[in-house]
Symmetry: C2
Subunit: 376 residues, 2 copies
Amino acid sequence: MHFVLTAHDQNSSARAGVLTTPHGQIKTPVFMPVGTAGAVKALHIKELREDIGAQIVLGNTYHLYLRPGTEIIGKAGGLHKFNGWDRPILTDSGGYQIYSLADIRKFTEDGVIFQSHIDGSKHIFTPEKAIDIQRILGSDIMMAFDECTPYPCDRNYAKKSMERTHRWLNRCIQHQSGTTCAYGYHQSLFPIVQGSTFKDLRIHSAEFISNIGADGNAIGGLSVGEPAEMMYEMTDAVCKVLPVDRPRYLMGVGTPANILECIALGIDMFDCVIPTRNGRNGMLFTRNGIINIKNEKWKEDFSPLEEDGEVFVDREYSRAYLRHLFISKEILSAMISTIHNLGFYMWLMNEARKRIEEGNFFEWKNVMVKKLMQRL
Amino acid sequence: MHFVLTAHDQNSSARAGVLTTPHGQIKTPVFMPVGTAGAVKALHIKELREDIGAQIVLGNTYHLYLRPGTEIIGKAGGLHKFNGWDRPILTDSGGYQIYSLADIRKFTEDGVIFQSHIDGSKHIFTPEKAIDIQRILGSDIMMAFDECTPYPCDRNYAKKSMERTHRWLNRCIQHQSGTTCAYGYHQSLFPIVQGSTFKDLRIHSAEFISNIGADGNAIGGLSVGEPAEMMYEMTDAVCKVLPVDRPRYLMGVGTPANILECIALGIDMFDCVIPTRNGRNGMLFTRNGIINIKNEKWKEDFSPLEEDGEVFVDREYSRAYLRHLFISKEILSAMISTIHNLGFYMWLMNEARKRIEEGNFFEWKNVMVKKLMQRL
């Protein structure tokens, strides 16, 4: 894997680049749709590729390990073969999902013993196991096994947790170097900066992680309930430490405004369930602001979802029709809003990249963050 | 509307034809996917048109009247404009849905007073009202307001109900002739043969309906629980009476085998929720038989859904992957199985038509009905 920076914004730390992976190139900044169980919810693989033009998709190790299980995905020849998505895949390590979904039974230096949220069955995840699973999944980018601290978090706990995350990182790296990808290509491993909302811990963690010299670096434990300003402050502090020449991935972020702000701070990669999950609940992101399509006001609005939108749904369906589908609980409502929102996120990233190349990203971003978050 | 017969099978009453409607031509025999609330569940309008190649879609008057309501559909300019489907639409009269879904409060010569299954609100449907609503929906083919008797049904009740259905038909015709389509084209009205499972009543009803000289004729009140052989017997008796030169529509039928058998008896048009509803429950119809994709046996079957299938899902997704999506309750499971099953039904109708044109439909049908209904 290699990363080439191709442009820098004039008045911010925003940058554009090209990341080359075993399954193709990714133009950054990039948004990665979340394909939890090996599918982006309510979306065909074909739509993801052709209509939305996603460059890379995220898969959840925790979910895929529990269902269908590594045995089946291994027999299929990896996640790419299993679901037919032939572009890059990034998998998380399962850490975050264990903390947010599973019932944790025991937390040790070795790893975490937890119960499945599906059937209550008992499992253990260790740094080594997280790598083993991701080896079988065959993701282009594997994530280190970490602990995502909650917000707010006691400073002492945040420090201890961060230190353990660093020790787990060393075990991940060691295990990575002792194993190979079953499918013959190189899988990169991204370490994760932790440290909760304590700037000194964040800087310390970023320094520790920078010394690893990984193909790319991630920032975890943000967007977990802290104020947006605090998230930006932490992201800024970390970006100033992380190596300039490697991609920076801010995990689990965020709204269109969050993303633009963090691109300005030097982030290259994002993932978030907001466009898909909020879309399924009737929230549409558009170039002019946010639409809650279930609102009475759209009842007789027969204009297209978004006249100058990116995807076919924007022109082929009206707001009144989509509202009707939501009120009637039709599956098609989730399909339309998912494709619309992801199409919008892709458009936003393309525009951001274009402005970075032109050098005027910062000014554009300041206009857009206000516009995009207003309620229509 | 006009109907031209283009071919007849040598050893059965099967026939091929072309039905011309205000929204285009339909090659018969034809299967009409059910778009209850103005959408075929789990399917984009675009997929219905391009991937499946549906020629005509059915809309449910009862559902559309209750939600979003005729006011909104009227303001949109009719159902075609509301959902973007520009090919022919047939709407039922609401009768069947009232009997099967609503809480009937009162049944009179004038019509039916019922409570909405959605919010319990009170409504009345009369023959005139059913026409008024379908005028606003703007369907190419409207259905007469009838009573669908249950199975089994007392002979006396079946006779009385049939006679009322006939009187209601006269009111529908009178009201049709006194009103016009809001959108400037001609809407045909199909009367419905009733008479439960009593052959003499069916023949009497078919004679009554034949005398109307409608653009096409329908058979209702079958496939409501009676044995298949009884359904075939009634259909056969009715087809022998109905005018040869008008399309014959068998309402709510059926499985692939039911459809082939009834094509052999002279039926031209079908609708049924089986491919869509059963699809959403994991039942896939294929050229070699029926797959219950949730079964353990498909767990590690990485072969395509149906190698020589009609639609992209047949080649792009494996059985193991689709099974995983069903087990994980992913929306994509419903999307894939719907498109697969409707694609299969369209293929089946095209094949049937081809055999009729070749004159060897009957022999092919006898082989296929056995093959298609076996469990894989």
